[in-house]
């Protein structure tokens, strides 16, 4: 599985892109990411961008086997599972 997270906005407005190939992390971490992906129902999520001052916006793209999906979302619109998936991806790709 390949995950790309792009963050923009926030007061800082510093663009950031992180990529993660789950074959390069431990099996346990890979399973954790797969679990969060499923719990977030990622492949059925739609864009959810809002116009809230200084909030972060994320573009999250996941390629998994024959599936590929990308969403654009403001941080306030993210479910707990999606937020955790984003945080875990950033942590493992840092």
């Amino acid at each position: 599985m390949h995950i790309t997270v792009e963050r923009s906005g926030g007061f800082i407005g510093v663009p950031m892109t992180r990529e993660l190939d789950t074959t390069k992390v431990s099996q346990q971490q890979s399973i954790e990411l797969e679990t969060l992906l499923g719990a977030a129902d990622f492949f059925n999520l739609k864009d959810a961008l809002t116009q809230e001052p200084d909030r972060f916006q994320y573009s999250i793209k996941v390629k998994n086997h024959d599936q590929s999906h990308e969403i654009h979302v403001t941080e306030t619109q993210m479910s707990d599972n999606l937020y955790a998936l984003m945080e875990k991806t950033l942590e493992l790709s840092a």
Binding site: G9, F11, G13, V14, Q51
Partner: protein, 369 residues
Amino acid sequence: MHKRRALDLRRACSDLLNHSMGWLGSADRCPICCILPPHMVDEVIKNGDADDRGFALETLRMSEQFRGRRQTVAQFRGLVTPAGEKRRTVYDAKQGQKLPGTIVRSEGGPPSGDPAVDEAYDGSGATYDFFKEIFERNSIDGEGLRLDSTVHFDRSYNNAFWNGTQMVYGDGDGRMFERFTKSIDVIGHELTHGITQYEAALVYQGEPGAINESMSDVFGIMVKQYALKQTVADSNWIIGEGLFTSKIKGVGIRSMKAPGTAYNDPVLGKDPQPDSVSTMYKGRADNGGVHINSGIPNRAFYIAATEMGGYAWEKAGKIWYITLRDRLRSRANFRRMATITLSVATELYGGSSAEFKAVEKGWKTVGVL
């Protein structure tokens, strides 16, 4: 004018609004209100009771936005009794995301000893004082709205924001960013988002969104300059100075003087702000680059203010404040912003004044005019 006539006018207005509600919506939010002839409004202000004056001033304020007579409003400001006064409350989210959190300091209370709490308290106080003393504005809404701040939001949160009702500050990750209360202009920036919400209500997307962001930087840096009594020449015009840890190669988050030069770091990358419309960002990220393209109007303000000299809030700041408070519409673009600031400069100082030329130079330099 007799008091009874003033009341009749209010009733007539009210009747007119009631008949129009089908398409105008709520009377409280009616965009055109009831536009009385200016001389009648002035009479109500002089001779009416407190309620009449409040009604007439609001009518005048709304109508000024259409007629360009806003200076008249300022003359009568002293007649209005403020609904509130400086009321600060600081909450602690304790690294969670629930707002507002637990109260840790209220207006008049002693310092807490927690730097984030005390900086949020002092910074919101300095911002309140700036707008009150310089622009006679009573808080975010002009009517004494309470100033609520929450610190220690989320874990390692590299951000600060205004959520529509309050200010919120993260602690930073300690690796790249310090706590976000550390820089007073950040506090001024967030509070100005509240003022913009109550005034021009600039759409947070594309060019109006970049103007929204720029307004927060413009008044944010003036809050800092006012607190330090800095002239335009004394200021470094850096937004978010002190937010980076010593590991990051940068002087701050944005440079109003030289957009695109605030940082250049192996981890963070390079400051993406353009300094003119020729290199404007046109992508979809960041609500269409609101924090990126804000560098363009930021630089225009910097040039206008430095050309005028002295303290930024005296002339350039006044032009920008009147523009924000009374003239800008929610979907204004850079060109509209430029023509409005020039129009305000003409009204205040004359069309051939040094102030007009300074504003014109600012917008021409960044390629908007």
